[in-house]
């Protein structure tokens, strides 16, 4: 390594910018930040991890509740259908018995 290398390292060593450089950069960054519309602000509110997890939990609970409600509705409908079938069967049996009884009444009266 030559003296020129050392001299160049010395000449080109890092220097700090003027005082207040960081403050100036932060001020310009704040000024350059675009104004957020209300829906963007709302959307950006969902960025923190806690809010994201809470949103995911609420959505999962809503999906579960919807599923359970659908299942309960389907069971109720199936039970109603079964009761209807039983009623129809009972009416048919009652109709047959009435018919038999009616025939016997006619036979006696003749």
């Amino acid at each position: 390594m030559s003296r020129l290398d050392d001299a160049l390292r010395e000449a080109l060593r890092r220097e700090d910018p003027g005082p207040g450089f960081t403050r100036e950069v932060l001020a310009r960054a704040a000024a350059a930040r675009p104004k957020q519309s209300w829906w963007r602000a709302l959307a950006s509110g969902f960025r923190p991890p806690l809010v994201r997890w809470a949103t995911a939990c609420v959505l999962a609970c809503a999906l579960l509740a919807t599923g359970l409600e659908y299942r309960r509705e389907r069971n109720l409908r199936a039970e109603g259908e079964a009761a209807k079938q039983q009623l129809v069967l009972a009416l048919r049996i009652a109709g047959v018995k009435l018919h038999v009884a009616q025939e016997k009444v006619f036979e006696r009266s003749e």
């Binding site: 003296r3 020129l4 001299a7 700090d16 910018p17 450089f21 960081t22 950069v25 310009r28």
Partner: protein, 178 residues
């Protein structure tokens, strides 16, 4: 209300992170620009522009090394562009730089100033190669990646620039070991 508080807290953390990044890297960024441009106000302007560009994409960095690489790369290219726009090179020609009357020792402020002026008089790309080599201590491969040029071009720029600088200094100090 709570959402607004959380948003304000997140924004405060973001500003604090950004401020820490600026403080950590401002000497590197400013010095690359300053040694290239030899104009403090212009170098500060370039450095601020680099940090503003960084602010817009701060979340996109995978590591500290990636961030440093990006800062050096963007600062180098912006400084070269700025030097070309300002036509800085004709303002300080290598022949116009006064030769030192006596050979100062390494670490001497006069030698440093002379070398800074000589480096600033090099063409833009060779100048940036010398700055990245001796300010940032990067090897030719890293410089080539940063400036989008072949490694052999970087080595050639370095050899020619050093020969030029040595010649200019040798004229005044004879055959001393520079």
């Amino acid at each position: 209300m709570r959402l607004a508080t959380e948003m304000a807290e997140a924004a405060a953390v973001e500003v604090a992170d950004f401020a820490a990044v600026v403080r950590e890297h401002q000497a590197m960024v400013f010095s690359i620009a300053y040694h290239c441009l030899r104009d403090r106000a212009l170098a500060e302007e370039v450095a601020q522009e680099v940090f503003l560009q960084l602010h817009q994409r701060l979340a996109g960095f995978e590591s500290a090394a990636h961030l440093t690489f990006w800062l050096r790369r963007v600062t180098s290219h912006r400084s070269i562009d700025s030097a070309r726009r300002r036509k800085l090179r004709p303002q300080v020609s290598l022949d116009d730089v006064p030769e030192p009357a006596t050979m100062p020792a390494v670490g001497d402020p006069m030698l440093s100033r002379t070398l800074q002026r000589l480096v600033a008089s090099l063409p833009e790309k060779p100048r940036m190669v010398v700055i990245l080599r001796f300010q940032e201590d990067l090897d030719p491969g890293e410089i080539a990646e940063m400036l989008d040029m072949p490694v052999r071009t970087v080595k050639s720029h370095l050899q020619r620039s050093l020969a030029l600088l040595r010649e200019k200094l040798d004229r005044s100090v004879g055959e001393e070991n520079l």
